[in-house]
Symmetry: C2
Subunit: 251 residues, 2 copies
Amino acid sequence: MPTFYRVSDFARLAGVTVRTLQYYDRIDLLKPSATTEGNHRLYQRSDLLRLQQILTLKWMGFKLDHIKQMLDSPTYDLKTALLLQKTAIDQQIESLQVASEALERALSVDDIDSYSIDDAHLNQVIRAVMFPQQEWIRSAFTDEAWAGITTRRLQYTDADFQQFERDWRELTDKFAELQHLPADSEPVQALADTMHKYISLFSAGDSEAEEGVRQVWQNRQQMPSDYQMADEALLRFIQHAYEIYIKSEEP
Amino acid sequence: MPTFYRVSDFARLAGVTVRTLQYYDRIDLLKPSATTEGNHRLYQRSDLLRLQQILTLKWMGFKLDHIKQMLDSPTYDLKTALLLQKTAIDQQIESLQVASEALERALSVDDIDSYSIDDAHLNQVIRAVMFPQQEWIRSAFTDEAWAGITTRRLQYTDADFQQFERDWRELTDKFAELQHLPADSEPVQALADTMHKYISLFSAGDSEAEEGVRQVWQNRQQMPSDYQMADEALLRFIQHAYEIYIKSEEP
DNA sequence: CTTGAACCTAACCTTACGTCATACTGTAGG
DNA sequence: CCTACAGTATGACGTAAGGTTAGGTTCAAG
């Protein structure tokens, strides 16, 4: 003779709302173990265990349909699921931290004390937020090309940037391997083509932005040393090959 | 004679989807600066600046209607908004970190290597996740009362717990002030009543859970020293007052 | 003038419920 | 047994920020 709880009592017991229990019932996530003749839900304490599992997994960030799968299939790979979830959460934390730091920088912009907002202000904040110390890059672009670049930049995650860096390094490594060939030879030009496609991707078909990239590339002596690559001869080789490629594409 | 972009070009330029631009148009967040006779949207580069502002703020975690307010009212208090947003994000980070640590603990449960899931397994994981080292508390509760407590616990945020602690300290401080009065005097019993209401809140009307709380309270010598309060005399005073209160309520 | 790509709007889909609106059930008192 | 009235059930609509079709229209090249 088990004790039964009506919805509101059971809800209070578990710290959720009645609506939540009704919802979980409807999506077959948690069914009451009995009902009255009049179709009112009756829960037992044993239902509390299942609800505890559900709420714990939910608290960990799993979605309800995922939780249903986990609880309903006894062969579910829990360890992998937990691992994936932790990875996802850690990624979220990382990008939130980036945003938090950006907000911190935004708050440190002097003029913001005026407590008002106009385009100039806001853009100053945005510049402070997105590109803390890279004025030497910015100077190569027109205002509007720059707006395009910074805007597109927002779409990428940290993982994307890491991939970019890996790709870029791979590309320069390949150039290094072919450094003994003439810059206008076919394999080198093929690399230049790949490089061009990459730059196009970055500038998204924005010709002003592309021009800016070329400027940065050519004025690379101004780069802070952190950004400079070691092998100046290799850089000149790449630049030469790229110029040949561009000329051959724009007759 | 400004250059116009059609939606798809402008979308590519900015790195968003066409649907997003259509949506921003509909909610009056970003209108194209012109349209064709056939009602196709035409954007200019100057629209890109506004879109950049929108996406930057969005990336910071602001909601779109909030962004609209910010951009449309020139007297908007940007600094406060940024500050509030940073606070909110930092809170999110904190609770995600708690979840991440919990998942870490869950992954360190030995038996999980079996790559399967059943109630016992899952509950073991849950226990590891939610209550790392407090077996001394758990031992005072029945399994089901414990399930209720851990489940309710999920509903609370860090801020709630901090509030709990503050309330609790305030309560004990008040007891300390009245320590010169007899335990059955009216002001002391009033405090005991407050304390009882507080415990009831914690146990959500769960009588088994309440009993467990009383057990923990009485066996407080087993607590690790971190949890012990300094003044043992005060504790005995509180316990005495509380016992008198309970007896007077359950005749 | 035709064709195919790009574009338009409208409408439904997603999550995890909250919030009504309306109808029904359970129970205590008379 | 009847009536209040509290509790409950079901269904519909709303949320945020678009994604995803569906079906019709416009653009630009040939």
